[in-house]
Assembly symmetry: C2
Amino acid sequence: MKIIILIFGFSVVFCEEIHYGFVTKYIDMPLDHFSFTTNTTFKLRYLVNDTYFAEDKPIFFYTGNEGDISMFAQNTGFMFELAAKMGALLVFAEHRFYGETLPFGNNSYTSPKYLGYLSAQQALADYVYLINDLQKQYVNKSNSLEKLPVIAFGGSYGGMLAAWLRIRYPYSVIGAIASSAPVWQFHGIIPCENFNKIVTDVVRSLGSEICADTIRKSWNILRNITATDKGKIDVSTTFQLCKNIQTNDDIETLLNWLSEIYVDIVMVNYPYPTSFLVPLPGHPVREFCEGLDSVKYKDGVGLVEAIAKGLQIYTNYTGTTKCNDILQTAGPNLGENGWNFQSCTDMIMPMCSTDTDMFENSAWDFQQFSDDCYKQFSVRPRNEEVPILEFGGTEIETASNIVFSNGLLDPWSSGGVIKNISSQVLSILIPDGAHHVDLRAANPLDTESFKTARQFHEKQINKWLDKFYFKSLPLEAYVSTVNKI
Amino acid sequence: MKIIILIFGFSVVFCEEIHYGFVTKYIDMPLDHFSFTTNTTFKLRYLVNDTYFAEDKPIFFYTGNEGDISMFAQNTGFMFELAAKMGALLVFAEHRFYGETLPFGNNSYTSPKYLGYLSAQQALADYVYLINDLQKQYVNKSNSLEKLPVIAFGGSYGGMLAAWLRIRYPYSVIGAIASSAPVWQFHGIIPCENFNKIVTDVVRSLGSEICADTIRKSWNILRNITATDKGKIDVSTTFQLCKNIQTNDDIETLLNWLSEIYVDIVMVNYPYPTSFLVPLPGHPVREFCEGLDSVKYKDGVGLVEAIAKGLQIYTNYTGTTKCNDILQTAGPNLGENGWNFQSCTDMIMPMCSTDTDMFENSAWDFQQFSDDCYKQFSVRPRNEEVPILEFGGTEIETASNIVFSNGLLDPWSSGGVIKNISSQVLSILIPDGAHHVDLRAANPLDTESFKTARQFHEKQINKWLDKFYFKSLPLEAYVSTVNKI
């Protein structure tokens, strides 16, 4: 793990994290796997590291999610550590319409006639297609195996894709590690307020009661202050915005920006510094609330200053941020616009806030949501049930060889599979874990539950592989394989 | 079974077959289930018969194949007989781009920009969408079940769809009866000559050796005779063609027409008269060969006359055919053109002939096939592996609750699942059965093996239902249900 070959660059080097090396490859991919109205293809990017790869050993395949694949590759050190142990080939596939994989180049996001080909279904078919190609590239003709065993890994939306890849295309991957995958965050399965409740509970318990209460109070105060022109300028100054807010829409954007940052801080509440979404210290929820609580405010203006103080941990941990752009929360590597489109089409996830959380109350209004989608993307969600019709919702008892892992500090656990479905579809909980912490590289500050989750993954993967080799190999080869593993 | 309500008409009443009644319904269906470039919808037709339907009982759902759904409904009497026993609702769904379900009306077949939406994947998603809607229509709010159990049924391509519906969308149907479903008739799975070998074996054993030999000899003779203008006219007259053959292309069309008829006669070699593809007597292979063998020919011209005599059993069993159109083999209800398109896109089935069969030798040439597809439809097959990438080929060991049935007299058994895959994916063979004979209504001429297959289906369906009810119902309701079934 010490020899790092940095083949492609990764721009921000921060916190002295390990940087993993890859060869960048491309595959010609059909634009549409399900209809035949077009024969257009595009270049799908994927990253390969064969440092550890040994004959007949598995492929570890990361099902890329909504962002530049190199960001996910750099934040999924667990796969490298396990590959080193198990002799696996590492492949990270970029999701269509994210990162550099833009089927129509700069036009990709300009119209539904292009962007409409962004969907989870198409992405899954891309991965099946790529895995089939990898089999041809990496199965050594002299080997005893006709196919290499492939394990899917993914976190968050990538975890959903990993699970669905196994569920829908079990001949493509022999198993899946689906970390923090909210496959049940859909219509009618869980109450829409659960997500924000968890965010609030984490801020209350790991930050402070005062911190959560301040945020709860802030929405009305911010609306009142920004009702005047002077107030708009004052708030913009306090939050060091790059551009002063001016319109009612700007106010909504500001409040959304704040909400999203609170969510993000909770999501990535790791016990050590990271630079996943943005550079952050360890325990960012605690740090955020300590900053916020350090301002002893007496009025609304003071309250806004307290929040601005807390926020700095997120917006300016490096000390180099000149001003804040409220149109962006998570750094440029995450494809927020693409995800917003998917939220309007195939990944419709109802969200709401009630008196029980620290956010401004808001109901889930499907019609309003649909209107907003149309305004932004000229598409409307076909049907609130689409994700369930496509992927089955909670009815996954016929699936096999999947581990769903969820950190209970992660708001996305609200839509996660947090109980065993069968002896073959298992759930492991990480009580003190944030968003897909188990996929991250080992760290001296890892808790016991992080380590247990990773051991659990390893054990399950070995079970799946044992079964695969048993079925694939002639007896003598099987025996020698068993002796090696 | 005696009360028949004929709600929609069925044109040809022949052989005094039973005609089943339905209500015709339509559902607005998204044109594209997998991308978001269009929000077009179309009316998908389906037929419903609720004569036997009782509270909490299953839906029997026929996954329509390449033709007018009413034809399949009229030839799937087994579902009616079982529905009467089990209190099931009967639904027959029409496949997009066939029968009356033409998403773009008369333009549907004019360009790949329309016809490109014809695919097995889209059709499966249609069925999931429709089943979801049926659940809302037919689950009685006062009932104890939230969802009704749905069993998929299908024959031939419809059988493939039934199996894939269960494999891909196990939350939509609890099990599938896939009759004569050649899910393995794809690239690299089985030798391309198997299909024609079976056709030949059946003609040899149930017709006669002479009959098969005559056909084997006929190809060269027909080519020789039609090399002259006079020969073209003579052959056209002998076969009573509506339009004399003139060009080389016409000769190819004639030879294809003959080949397809031989295949069709074998496919529907039922022991009693039917009017599935065209009106036919019982044991049509025997009848065909008896006709052919009755002409004691001495030369090529006589051989052609012998074949023409045999053919009449297929082309003019009713005695009302004025002339033969070599562009059509199977009656107007089967969507031959749509199926040809699917053969060029998602259902690429390699076929060839060798010295071991009675057909003219022909190799499987993918490039030539692709060129022909482009000429006919302006599309090329993306990749010969497409059906395997999409549906998994032989790797279906993770599936459950499927019965694959195959008649061994059916050439499509060449691509069928003719062995058990697991304790939950079962195969049943009908040694003396033709194409999906087990889905037909009971007939006094049924053999023991037909009856055994239908009993097997019933037993498996009851197993699936028992499990479903056990998991769905509160204990007291379960007990009462078990007592009833």
